[in-house]
Symmetry: D2
Subunit: 345 residues, 4 copies
């Protein structure tokens, strides 16, 4: 069945989702809203959709699902409104910068029985999915250590940094989710260190641009994450899982894979320049999976709980840097109840 979409937010990531929706044979983009009227009409026009107000979209009878790409501080309210209106919801991460607000929001979603998927797009990258499949088939035995290197090609403007909740909630949050997903066990403690090496303005905005994180599970599995807001060679996205019987890794991706050899050596081109080109296929598969969930009325993953836990890991990392100690995730989340057991997949 064709799923009829309303898109809330026509900015950078909104455009990415508009493309994925309109390229999917089982989806139709009905309407777009944005606080900036021009942005909404431009995007709507490109894909033959209507411009409507956000409330109108949420209340519309000809729309089955909303995709929330608005500023972070509106996410939780919009999720609640859409859940109450009976819409299926795809929301960009994070749900909110505040753990308690997220918990409250998820209670509404739960109460309404709404379908909610959170936008951890990397789980849908075909290379990362293939890594996960190798792990799940037991080919590398019991997972022991996950290693993630994740570097952005350039630093965001300090203004963005202020609104984003900082590097851990904005950038590392993707790596936290991937680490949990690959470890297959909940993370118990977070240790982090962070500094400003790229742009002093980021430090002045109260954030960091370079970070290292160690994660540990109750059974002693490890993950390490290495983040930088700088990578002259492109968007650096590597994962590796080491287990009792072997290891599996995903290589970096580049737009063209050629090699030039001369007296200076053998040179391959730089990597993709950022997430829009690196994860094109992941975004398309993510929407496709969401559509499957909507049509089959099955639970969507990454779920709201996945979003909550990744945010809690970010919060724990912030505390760890400030206090110079390993922080328990339960210090941040409090007791999670029955749904707190690991549900990644």
């Amino acid at each position: 069945m064709t799923v009829r979409f309303g898109l809330l937010g026509a900015g950078r990531i909104g455009k990415v989702h508009a493309k994925a929706i309109t390229g999917n044979p089982d989806a139709r983009l009905v309407a777009v809203s944005d606080a900036m009227a021009d942005a909404a009409s431009s995007l709507a026009g490109q894909y033959g959709a209507e411009v409507r107000g956000t409330e109108a979209i949420i209340g519309a009878s000809d729309i089955d699902a909303v995709v929330i790409c608005t500023p972070t501080d509106t996410h939780a309210d919009l999720i609640e409104a859409a859940a109450r209106a009976g819409k299926a919801i795809f929301c960009e991460k994070p749900i909110d910068l505040d753990v308690e607000r997220v918990k409250a929001c998820l209670k509404v979603v739960d109460a309404e029985g709404a379908t909610l998927m959170v936008g951890f797009n990397r789980r849908f990258d075909p290379h990362f999915e293939a890594v996960k499949a190798v792990v799940d088939r037991g080919e590398i035995g019991a997972v022991e250590m996950v290693t993630i290197v994740s570097r952005d090609p350039g630093a965001p403007p300090p203004d963005y940094v202020r609104r984003s909740g900082g590097i851990f909630r904005d950038m590392t949050i993707h790596d936290f989710d991937i680490a949990r997903w690959l470890l297959g066990e909940e993370i118990e403690t977070v240790s982090a260190q962070a500094s400003v090496l790229v742009d002093p303005a980021i430090g002045e905005a109260g954030d960091y641009d370079s970070a290292s994180v160690m994660l540990a599970t109750a059974s002693g599995k490890h993950a390490t994450i290495s983040n930088s807001r700088r990578a002259t060679y492109g968007y650096d996205q590597r994962i590796e899982v080491h287990g009792s019987k072997g290891a599996v890794s995903a290589e970096n991706q580049r737009p063209v894979s050629i090699e030039v050899a001369n007296a200076a050596g053998y040179t391959r081109p730089p990597l993709h320049d950022f997430f829009m080109t690196r994860y094109t296929e992941a975004y398309a598969r993510e929407i496709s999976r969401f559509i499957d969930c909507v049509n089959s009325k099955s639970a969507a993953t990454p779920s709201g709980l996945d979003g909550l836990i990744a945010l809690a890991l970010a919060e724990a990392a912030v505390r760890s840097v400030k206090e110079g100690r390993a922080v328990k995730v339960s210090e941040v989340t409090g007791p999670l109840g029955d749904r707190g057991v690991f549900q990644g997949r």
Copy 2:
């Protein structure tokens, strides 16, 4: 301007082009024809196009361009009819299995001033295009030697072999075109050897399944081609250009680039399983380029002449195997006149 397409032939390669056309924002698939009514209606239905007869499509006023994906022995006639009807023409290779028939066909195209592009899809592969760009920018100096390895994952049925004109006209023809394109100079002599190593039925059908070819230009540049109808590891497509200042190569492509390490070593997955997945992007870019040519009324490449010369190289290879000698291309083509100078690009 949107180009309105008629698709002649709804078989394997017709489906590939239908997908490329309908995925292009500047194209519209108006009608599909096929000798098998079911094939036509199924493909037309999938993309919201009409089913029409071949002649009706060629004569239609609401169609700007035809894509010819019918059996090879119909190509030349259809090209001539479409040229006379004022249609822009995209034709799958080869134009015909007979060099003289191709020459006659191209005279009609010339006389009508028709736009004709021949389907050497590999020129539009982004990796191969990047190789060509490195060569054209002079980064490797003067081209000296082109090395092509091109192996199909499996042998075609003997029945196909009989209709196809044999390995040189069906399979190597792509490599001949790439060799010319990368050498940047016309090929003067062809030496080939061929044998049956994969499937005796191919030998019984009068063809070969394993072939090696050497090409030389007047100035002494070389190309070597290695072909097999068998490759257990997937669709093997490698090119390398060696020049006075360096070399450039395009690696093989695989659907996912992960690596599993264990006591048996480090293993990456097999390559793409065949051309439909390996050259998906090339087919899309090919149609896009064709649309640009139609809209700008500029000469299309690969041109009819490119198709003619690649066929002549195949014919020369056949003779070389039979006679155990280096065959001059001019023995096959006869004098080509002014247009016989190199026009690749």
Copy 3:
């Protein structure tokens, strides 16, 4: 000038050094001692050297330099005796498991003006040296993050674990030295986590077999280290340095670099099986450098201070795991005086 060597200790690492010494045109192996008479005579016989007692070697007038490969708890005493006897000293790491004992030993070395090199062999690996040269030439700009993955193919016997001082003092100590060397700035804090995933007997012996470490310098540079006592795919030794202008890495090494392709994919053989084959060339170059230092009477690096600091980093890691906090290196070393500034290369 030929340097005349006495070798103290004819065990596994003693044999490695005997081979490096006798393969060097500027060295001669005069005598070998070992608590096990058979081991000494076997090794001495193989290379045409004499068997002598340890004290006799240290006091001999026909010996210029000693190589200390005895059990760790004898290192400091032997270094002091050799220093007082005017011998140049090459000592396997660590100098002692106790930081205060090392400091006392180094005072004697200093007072005697003895040449002392500590066996951090990896600094002499040609691939790692090439990485360091790229960093030193400024090709990647200012160093920001060092990433080290270092995994042993198999776990040592629990008995060894007890004597070795544990994973951080025995195994990670090499990575601590490489991290300092590549960061080019002293490490200020150490955060570590460790667990037992490979062999419960290691846990029963009071040690860990899986460890992750984060290091930070005063200016905010990072290093991460990932260690395991298990790697089914061979001796895994990777380093990467990320800087403001780029990054440089050293790949893993394997005995033969071939690739087999079939329906299961593309497979390269496993890595070297352990340090004896992986670092053969490094051991030869290490002794060669030591000989140069002896002949030129220049200060040797890695120095005794390098050995002390690496040990202090290990001690800090142990505390960090136990106390769940970032540990300052100065908590372990106390004030180091003028020589405490960074002197690595």
Copy 4:
């Protein structure tokens, strides 16, 4: 048993063998001869050997084996003299530039029952040996196509070209031997094309600097060889064997395997600069194998017949270029008798 060597010829390749002999625990270099007295005494002095005349070495009772590294036109006479003197013989390729002279020489060797090994060093490269082992274990099924790319970093002086017998007898001869070795079946026909692209002086000397060769066996197996006297990126030495069940290849080798990433891309260093560094290990293993043959009195390979056939392939290639046709190897060799069956291993 220690084999006592006499070395005839102290030039470039003589030095390579002197190093291999003196580095082997089962060999002793007793004496060196050279037409240039200085060259002989310098090399002898370096390794503690005596200088003697060539005849004196061949007749000496304290010498078991000779290594012939003199100019090519002396090889056959020296082999015959050494065979008659009861010496084991290692001779650099080629035995002679004339096929009939080689046949006559091998008759003497046969009659005397002498041990003769011909210096096709590449068979002893550990990477190529690993390729051969994969083939011999049947891992890739029946061999179908061998692909060799072999490029020298720079062209030899025209003077050398004149004496060497030309590119096919001097350079390609190694590739002919490797092709035979890997095909596992005698070559029946040779097709070659060659040109002058690198240095006109080579053309004036009557030779070529760029060559392509196709080989075919009676059962239809193929090999292709691509040669150039120019490669700005180092000594390019690649082999690949394609079979019915898969393929196996050996990668190029470089002195250090690091990678630098920056805005220009990912760069690995150039390859080894020539055969002395690329094949260091092969030369050592070659002499080791020769010593084994001498000690076990077993037949040595590569044998004199292997040397003869590789030379015949070169001669056939020369004719193929001149006559523009596929040349049968039997046209060059005439009937080879019982020993003409394939004996490669």
